[in-house]
Amino acid sequence: MYVYMGHMEFKHTQPYENWFWAKNKIDLKQGFVNRIDTDNKHIIFEDNTSISYDQLVIASGSKINKFGWPGQDSKGVMGLYRKQDLEQLEQFAPNNQVCKRAVIVGGGLIGIELAEMLRSRNIPVTFLVREKSFWKEVLPDQESEMINRHIREHHVDLRLSTQLREIKTDASGQVISVIIEETGEEIFCDVVGLTAGVSPNIDFVKNSNIVTGRGIKVNRFLETNIANIYAIGDCAEQQEPKGERKAIEAVWYTGRMMGETLAQTICNHRTAYHPGHWFNSAKFFDIEYQTYGWVWAKPKENEARFYWEHKNGKMCIHLNYDKNTHTFIGINNFGVRMRHAFFDKVLTKKKSVAYVLARLSDANFDPEFYKKYALEIVSKFNQENNTSIQLKKKSWKRIFSNA
């Protein structure tokens, strides 16, 4: 994303310098795997070369979802997941002369990223979202509406409750337009971004003895049904997911945590994967988003909500807590940064929403000198709930105490 936008070069995205791999005795081999021969412990590549293994870790990630739209494999149709997608985008949308308009299909995190990228090169963007509001299956109404506004503020032609019928091409197989399902309208464009989610990239595993479902089935130890073969990251499907977490979590940090856990196992400390409390983050154009614990799109039976929004319409906080016990369940914060360690502790200790509100100044993670809204938030909560929670002064002692 940032490479296309000119914030960085590709090398800046690489976490290690190129000498790192050889120095640590890691051989990098590039190629596509065709087949895994679990009986003879071999993997076979597209070019029929093979490598044998003692332990095999499958971390093949995701591929983009395609729903059988006519024209979905044409030139100029792409996802945004792999480096190859970036190269394609450079080819088909280098500027607004070559790409006079782009259409993005699918209103989630990748879709809005792609929109931001294209807008950075002043390419007109039409953004088709199937739901009646952006990322509606995850975000509560207020947050979703805020992002709708923000998308339009960035001059994106946002079409809600709109689906794709087909992609039309010219004689050479290059995209020329898309047809809208609901209205039959034709939108002329040079690039179509398919960003309606991802699913595990496991086609090459399916003809082996490894058990798969939507992803590669693993137990809590990230082991597949075959000894010495493991799967981690986007391609792994937990047989018994933890808590409210999904069986397949295409989230960056779960991949990292699975890697850390599996490293313990492979180094002879067999360790189960225990993802802690749910958290996540994203950035929608200029608005940062973080979440800790659970704030569902619709409140559950036992849940009460508290919502505060700044008058500029670009900051908000949404608290979720138990109606009866007042235990804190989760927070969405937009345009305000919050401290992960604080909420992790609160969730573990099952503290109340009042406890959280009183310590909002400890929780804040905005840069120094930023205007703080804790007082405003707490007094709004007090007003709405007839409580008298007192905001505590920020305390380094509390923030850095491990108790």
């Binding site: 690489q14 976490p15 400390h269 993802p275 409390h277 200029d286 401290r339 840069p367």
Partner: protein, 542 residues
Amino acid sequence: MKSIQNIGLVIFLIGLSLFTGTIFTGSFHLSPSALDAFIIEKDYQNEIIETELTKAIVTDDPLTIFEFSHRVRHAYEVANTHYDSLISQYDAEKNWDKKGEQYPYKIYGKPHTLSFDLAKIAGKGYVKAHAGLMWMLTFGLGILGSLLFILPNLILLGKAGIKNDGIYLKASTNRGWIAWLVLIYLVSFYLLLYFMPDYVVNWTFIVDPISLFLNGGPASQWFVYGFLYCTIMVVMALRMYIKYRGNKYQVMRTTSVLFFQIVFAFLIPEIMTSLNMPGYDFKNAFPLDYDFFFDWNLDDLRNSGSIGLFILIWGIVLTLVIVPVMVYFFGKRWYCSWVCGCGGLAETLGDPYRQHSDKSLHAWKLERWLIHSVLIFSLVMTLVTLYCYFTGSPSFLGIHSQWIKDSYSFLIGAWFAGVIGTGFYPIFGNRVWCRFGCPLAAYMGIVQRFKSRFRITTNGGQCISCGNCSTYCEQGIDVRAYAQKGENIVRSSCVGCGICSAVCPRGVLKLENGPEKGRINPTDILLGNNIDLIQLVNKREK
């Protein structure tokens, strides 16, 4: 809007061309009486210099500054050669008395500086006669053009946010041909300023009226530099305000460096000079202020009564007490990013180039060797200077005092801090000097690393390893390497500019001053992954 910017660019380039072009204007010669007055003022004992200079520059020919400089330097050379040959003659004859008698006749000083002093009184021409108009055509057009280029960004860049679109797609900010041209211009500028000031004497004429108003005397090349420095910082600070207007830390920090540059580094010393006090920059701490303990400065301070004594004590307390105490509480950022003049230029003029700092491990190793060597160099130099000052001996530990001072001034003061430090902005980034060379930064870095409350806190497991923080770190710190492991960033080189925190898309980094305990926190397991580490370690030990 875009066309306003283009007009601004053209106006700026016209201003810059005129400014550069003034070097080649004017004519230089002296009347016999003016030369007499000059020689009397300088109190030259040399008996030939008057004849030689008369031959050289008392003429009706309209000499350019280059011919003038050439002739003057030749005259001084001839005048000195005469006595040098006498010295070697008496040396061969072992006639020590006669040999010793020759030295007072010699004229010391750098040839281009001697030539500058003469050019200052010998210059005539349009620039000198119309200083006000020329100021408008050079500085004026430069400022106007820059503003027309910068201010439309308030609208063009859109709403407040991170504005790094296209940085790696432009020749100016991605080491393209524009960047190389800027490098050549800046390097040439510094070479002229430091080593051939007489060639740019016309620039001093442009700001003579301002100098006269501020300190009562004509402008030196250093006054031009100081004035230009402040002007550039003001203009580029406006750019910072627009680019980072959503980030209060950046806005306040920029205001602070601007204030300290204009008031402390520029105005106060000029006003002090006009009041016959030693012009002193109260924020310029030793060893960055490397000549603070030079004999001429100590003499100057001792001869300046109570204000001199105050400066002497202040300078020592600043370095030994204020600097480390402030670093303990706030990190070295209080100086490098809030007060320092070098930092101020780096954070304004240099901001478009911050991404070019070298992030490799190799560069980090080089950094530690270089910066600490410069620190030791400056301390040894000062030790030798002080020993020689108080004992009257010309050398200490076999090191000649004048030699080490000259070497440091030339290698570190001029080449490292100036020519390389600033000239190389467009290619090597804006903090080359601060990262690899500044002895004060090295000193504060040691304090920051081992005894400080400052750290950049990493926000648990939120890092996505995107690399923005490392890319935009002007000090070449691989911030991401820490952030993705959930470790706080505690590095001696961090100047606390706060940009890593600003460009982070996920709210992972926060500059904080907190308790020392737990400040450095290498964590094997990131927040979010509930492995009991202690249990693991215990198990392993069994």
